[in-house]
Symmetry: C2
Subunit: 425 residues, 2 copies
């Protein structure tokens, strides 16, 4: 699908919505402000309707009435049970995914595991486009290990993509671990995870993918790609709610490796209360301690919606939505001074599109405060438009571009004086 296949005009967008197989999934979500166009599902997914009832039950019945008995009625197993639902979206067979802690904590655990398993090697390869928290975690691991490793960040020529040849050249026999965001947070650039994993394995390195921006929106085939390790969050396209617990994946044959953090949820028989740690078999010993149950339970009906839609249909619509948006950006916004900050090739793109403008910050503020469009902004000039196939319509995409056009064409942003910056995640 290229730009030429689309037509201008709102009527056309409505036609695309009529043909959209997933259009009815919009009804699975809460729309409290009917007119507001939400383009930040890549940061925090909308509230699924079913989640409202699930949380009421969890609070008022499971906690309020059942009290401690809740642990025997589904809470104890929740991390594994919800993990298996996520596994279905990641092409991971059973027993390899659990819900646990935060993405950063999980990255810490798995990066430490990888560096121990490749103890003779002193290099971690990542890129300058990776989410900074991931890089901070790796820097912390390196310090903890006595500064014995180097973190090599592959550069980006265009601040948008990483050249595969350059990356491959950086992965060599010194490399213990290659860790990247499958979809990068600023530009939406999508790695060929299978090819990168294969390259890493050629030289004996391990691979750890951060799936935060791909889980639930881009097909992931962890088993088929032979991925070693992965982490990700659940509050973006999985719609788990603010700060929802994260997940981790450890390929079955690597699960003998020891996590650096030993807690009682990873103990073989936690209720024996032995004084010595004896780790559980399988993925369980990567758990640490009591998970946030309300947030974990909230995630379950949200995942059911994604599973029901199916990742292939979601990806199909995602590519259609982002391609349509790029067509509109190129025909409507580029003439107004915008520069596309995302790859034009859909095979290199996740589900958000960046548009850059030197007045990006003020433009995004006016969109939020006056125009009923909610994108997010990333320094220095980057407006990110996240398209969530389960609830973003083609008409919303058209309307959002039209409102952006008006802000710039009418120079509305000149009236906006930067005050408090919106610190969206």
């Amino acid at each position: 699908m290229g730009p030429l296949e689309f037509e201008p005009g709102l009527d056309y967008a409505h036609r695309l919505d009529e043909e959209d197989e997933l259009a009815s999934f919009r009804e699975a979500f809460v729309f409290a402000e009917a007119d507001m166009i939400y383009l930040d599902g890549n940061s925090l997914g909308r509230l699924p309707r079913r989640t409202v009832g699930r949380l009421r039950t969890a609070v008022e019945q499971e906690w309020g009435r059942d009290l401690i008995r809740g642990w025997n009625a589904g809470w104890w197993e929740a991390s594994a049970r919800v993990g298996e639902k996520i596994a279905l979206l990641l092409g991971a067979g059973p027993g390899q995914v659990v819900v646990s802690d935060t993405t950063s904590i999980n990255l810490f655990k798995l990066a430490m595991v990888a560096l121990e398993m490749r103890a003779g090697r002193d290099r971690i390869v990542s890129d300058v486009l990776n989410f900074p928290s991931d890089l901070y975690i790796l820097q912390g691991c390196i310090r903890l290990l006595g500064d014995s490793h180097q973190l090599h960040l592959v550069p980006s020529e265009d601040e948008m993509t990483v050249d595969q040849e350059t990356l491959f050249d950086a992965i060599d026999e010194r490399t213990a671990l290659v860790t990247l965001s499958h979809v990068v947070f600023k530009s939406g650039f999508l790695y060929d995870a299978e090819a990168v994993t294969e390259r890493a394995h050629e030289v004996g390195a391990l691979v750890l993918w951060d799936l935060g921006h791909s889980a639930g929106v881009v097909p992931v085939e962890l088993d088929r790609w032979d991925v070693d390790l992965a982490v990700g969050c659940t509050y973006k396209y999985l719609n788990g709610g603010p700060g929802a617990p994260a997940f981790l994946y450890v390929r079955r044959d690597l699960q003998e490796a020891l996590s650096p953090i030993w807690g009682w949820f990873g103990q073989r028989a936690p209720f024996d209360f032995d004084l010595e740690y004896d780790r559980a078999e399988g993925i369980a010993h990567f758990l640490v301690s009591s998970p946030p149950i309300l947030s974990t339970l909230a995630l379950e009906p949200a995942l059911d919606v994604v599973l029901q839609a199916g990742i292939d249909r979601i990806r199909h619509k995602s590519v259609h939505l982002t391609s349509y948006l790029i067509y509109l950006v190129e025909t409507v916004l580029v003439p107004l001074g915008f520069v596309l900050g995302s790859p034009t090739d859909p095979a290199q793109r996740g589900s958000h599109v960046s548009i850059r403008h030197r007045e990006g910050y003020r433009i995004s503020q006016v969109l939020i405060e006056e125009m009923g469009v909610l994108p997010d902004f990333r320094e220095p000039d980057n407006i990110r438009l996240g398209l969530a196939p389960l609830y973003t319509s083609f008409a919303e995409v058209w309307e959002a571009v039209d409102r952006i056009r008006r802000v710039v064409a009418e120079r509305r942003y000149l009236r906006y004086f930067p005050g408090k910056r919106l610190g969206v995640t």
Copy 2:
């Protein structure tokens, strides 16, 4: 208050309730099964009524309507804001407590900090009564540091208390860190935290207290006692809900130390997205990444209830309740073969009381399934009765003991065949 000050009979219990200044706080909590006597608030506190509404607002308005804007309307600061409320209960001045991760993860972070700060020393002192997850974390830290440290567990002669002299003898110039549960989970034994902290400091060791079973029910004076480090959970006497996020305390002058886990919530200016970690000032850099917002917000109204009651009144009632329970145990249950598993001196006791019986497991099962009493059971023979001063009444204590008496006197437990064990936390 000793056993002799009490009288037998339910009427007397009702009189104690009439005189109870905190009796009205019971109305602040949900009682879904009016007849059920809940004695497991030491594991999972009851649901505060205000929490129900707070969570609905958080879900339906903040997430459902405000969406990503929630991060600018209180979510981002929630970990610090809720932390300051907990600080009020711990005698900690501002800027030293944050809500973060789980107790075990926080223990990992702070134990690693302590071991680095006392790098020349090779010993960690704890005790055999400590919660096993705490010991597992320490064992994991030791392995991570190349098995260069020893974990010395001070024994308990009576499986209930630790002799202070024995503990003090174990703390010496080799000791890097002393880490203990302020109130131990099995027996409710309460350490003299001030004296232990002083002893540790005499020899230059650091102290890390796990306040899980004391926060919100036993007065804690972290600043006055000159405590170095502390962690704790919020789902027991703080009534934060299942798996509610934990807290950590780092004394102000130790906050320069580097946490082993570096995440973007601990970064000086996280929204600059710098590629190098530059840690935030103060306690903030002990945060890692996005906290579970729903669970964090649920905690806030729960803490307000505790703050309103006041820790001194709570402690006063707690001592009264546990002393009364021990009086009843000694007069009613000891003749039936029970052995008290908690200290008789209230100065050595938190807010739960253990009673031991060789048929403890079957007795506890019959209590739960037939008698409307919900205690918890710990291997091998330990029934724990948790008394939560904000909602446990004296009449409930009397009634619970009477039901336990009937289970044993009528040998009801003989009809119970052990099946699935209740794995309460």
